[in-house]
């Protein structure tokens, strides 16, 4: 897992959003697929759902990076006892709640940034678990790029910390 994955996902989102906006502006395309003015809100909603899928993608990449980097740091201990312990931890690491892993990061970064990631995680869970309609949706994003940036800021730190070890 390379930190550049975040740029790649964002680039894919950029392209998707640009295409969506172009489609909406193009009269010929609109008429061809019967998008009348009153259907504009449908396209807004469609883009909103697509944004949510990108948040899942972005968060999944972050989670992979975090688990890989923390596992790598455990493996770096070199006595035999530690090796045995790290085997167990590596085997079980996929089952450790990400909230616990995020709490570890509070020692290295502003806890508010970690809190923001937890908010994003709750939103991600709400989407991934079937978003209950008309019921308590968690804190929503204001702009998907803010979500991307909040994750990226912490991901860079996770990456830097593991490189420095």
């Amino acid at each position: 897992m390379d930190i550049r994955i975040f740029d790649e996902i964002q680039k894919r989102y950029d392209l998707t959003e640009s295409l969506f906006k172009l489609l909406r502006k193009n009269t010929a395309v609109r008429e061809e697929i019967l998008w009348k003015r009153e259907h504009f809100s449908d396209t807004d909603e469609a883009l909103e759902f697509i944004r949510d899928l990108f948040i899942i993608d972005f968060f999944a990449a972050f989670e992979r990076l975090l688990r890989d980097r923390l596992s790598a740091s455990v493996v770096s201990q070199d006595d035999e006892l530690s090796q045995r312990l790290s085997e167990i931890i590596l085997r079980e690491s996929e089952y450790i709640k990400i909230e616990y892993l995020l709490d570890i990061l509070k020692n290295f970064t502003d806890p508010q940034r970690v809190g923001l990631i937890k908010q994003i995680k709750r939103y991600r869970d709400w989407i991934a678990h079937g978003r209950k309609p008309l019921s308590q949706s968690p804190a929503k994003p204001v702009d998907i790029y803010i979500v991307f940036e909040a994750i990226r800021l912490v991901a860079v730190l996770v990456d830097t910390q593991s490189v420095e070890r």
Binding site: R37, F40, Q112, K118, Q136, K140, P141, I146, L153
Partner: protein
């Protein structure tokens, strides 16, 4: 109107108050336009369902756009409303004064809105207030000019 609003907690109450302040300001910029308010119900995780006003904006009897409140619990912001026109939609974000960090570290109480973090996240942040969000992290503090630009962008109406 305030009697109809079911206040649940301070966050929601403050959001609605800020929304009303923004509407008052917006109306003062819109001479020659007709504005109407309509209460809608909002569902959020950290509050009981509550009502907040939408603001409809008309010109010469034609609908131009509306400001629709989204919620008081927003990731990296203190509230969000959407400016919705026939052409497009833009978000308007409330970014309040920075609060002190609480010692309690559970998810709900972690404060995520300090000034440094905002400056890292938003391009164009210049203190507390409502902001038009143009996408790609670019924001502009709401003013007569930025709101006219936003209205033009979502409605296509040019003669402000």
């Amino acid at each position: 109107m305030t009697e109809d609003i079911d206040f649940n907690d301070a966050v929601v109450e403050e959001f609605i108050q800020n929304l009303q302040l923004m509407y008052r300001e917006v109306k003062s910029w819109l001479t020659g336009f007709v504005c109407k308010e309509n209460l809608i119900e909002i569902y959020e995780e950290y509050a009981l369902p509550y009502k907040a006003p939408e603001l409809y904006i008309y010109k010469n009897d034609g609908f131009l756009c509306k400001i629709k409140p989204v919620g008081a619990h927003i990731i990296a912001a203190d509230g969000r409303a959407d400016l919705i026109g026939k052409r497009d939609k833009l978000s308007i974000a409330l970014l309040k004064e920075s609060r002190a960090v609480k010692a309690n570290s559970d998810t709900k109480s972690e404060q995520t809105d300090n000034e440094d973090l905002r400056k890292d996240l938003y391009l164009g942040y210049e203190g507390a207030g409502w902001y038009v969000c143009w996408g790609k992290r670019r924001i502009t503090k709401i003013s007569s000019e930025s709101f006219s630009e936003a209205m033009e962008s979502v409605s296509g109406y040019k003669n402000f």
